[in-house]
């Protein structure tokens, strides 16, 4: 279990850093898909099988493809040689990220209440998740359905090319 954690962690973290630092945008997105698949592996290690497969379906499947499409549609896949890929104030960004990491790590390492014993392997099959979704969490389920519909319509409307308005003027 320890070995699986270390291997998955190294793979995921390395590909995340590569996704943030590589020059070619398509390479970045490929590294992102490795990161997301590695996180799916973490969910499997934590006995959350359904979330792991949802992660693979939604993130590795849909979101990555969406980002690839956006990359190709915006011609950003091939930045010219000599054009900076980092903003001019990148050192400030790195400093803020290191500061955030340091303070969060301090909190994690000094809090004693999170040292919990591991309980027996919990049962988390699809039937139980479905029961919970349809009984105690049904309102959240409906709201997220509404949100996804609104986001879909919104994305289509935002990305639609704007039509010239002269047809209305003629009438």
């Amino acid at each position: 279990m320890e070995l699986a954690f270390i291997v998955l962690g190294l793979l995921t973290l390395t590909s995340a850093i590569a996704a943030m630092a590589m020059r070619q945008l398509v390479h970045c997105v490929l590294c992102l898909s490795v990161t997301l698949a590695g996180l799916g592996g973490f969910y499997l290690l934590l006995n959350a099988e359904f979330v792991a497969f949802a992660q693979i379906l939604v993130y590795v499947g849909a979101v990555t493809i969406l980002v690839v499409f956006a990359t190709l549609l915006t011609r950003g896949g091939n930045p010219e040689v000599g054009v900076a890929i980092f903003s001019s104030s990148w050192f400030k960004g790195i400093a803020v990220a290191v500061l955030a990491a340091g303070s969060l790590l301090f909190c994690v390492l000094t809090t004693s209440s999170i040292q919990r014993p591991l309980t027996a392997k919990p049962k988390a099959d699809v039937k139980m998740i479905g029961d919970k979704l349809m009984t105690s969490h049904v309102l959240a389920l409906e709201v997220i359905g509404l949100l996804l519909t609104a986001a879909m319509i919104g994305a289509v409307i935002i990305a639609m090319p704007e039509r010239p308005k002269e047809s209305k003027v003629e009438n």
């Binding site: 945008l25 979101v63 400030k92 955030a100 990491a101 988390a124 996804l148 986001a151 990305a159």
Partner: protein
């Protein structure tokens, strides 16, 4: 089995990598990718806390992570649509050029 700390430390590292990408990169698509990494780090925390909780049969962490995945998917779709429109208007998607609204 790995203690809960390890998962939290890993998720802090993943979050900071995403944060550094959001703050440093010029391309708006990679900025969005960084946001996705940060959301995923938070999701890992939900699942880890659920697995190590005293009452995992309540399923709270799993359901929260599922809803979070759904919201992140919606966010990615709308964000990328905005970026495509922005590219159509400006011919570039560098975030430091996005100053039309004088923010």
């Amino acid at each position: 089995m790995v203690p809960l700390h390890y998962y939290l430390i890993f998720s802090v590292l993943l979050f900071s990598v995403g944060l550094a990408g959001v703050l440093c990169r010029r391309n708006a698509i990679i900025v969005l990718v960084g946001v996705e990494l940060m959301l995923n780090a938070a999701n890992l925390n939900f699942i880890a806390f659920w697995r190590y909780s005293a009452h995992p049969e309540a399923m709270t962490g799993v359901l929260f992570a599922l809803f979070s995945i759904g919201i992140a998917a919606a966010e990615a779709a709308v964000g990328l649509a905005i970026l495509v429109t922005f590219f159509r208007n400006r011919g570039d998607i560098a975030v430091d050029d996005a100053s039309m609204m004088k923010g």
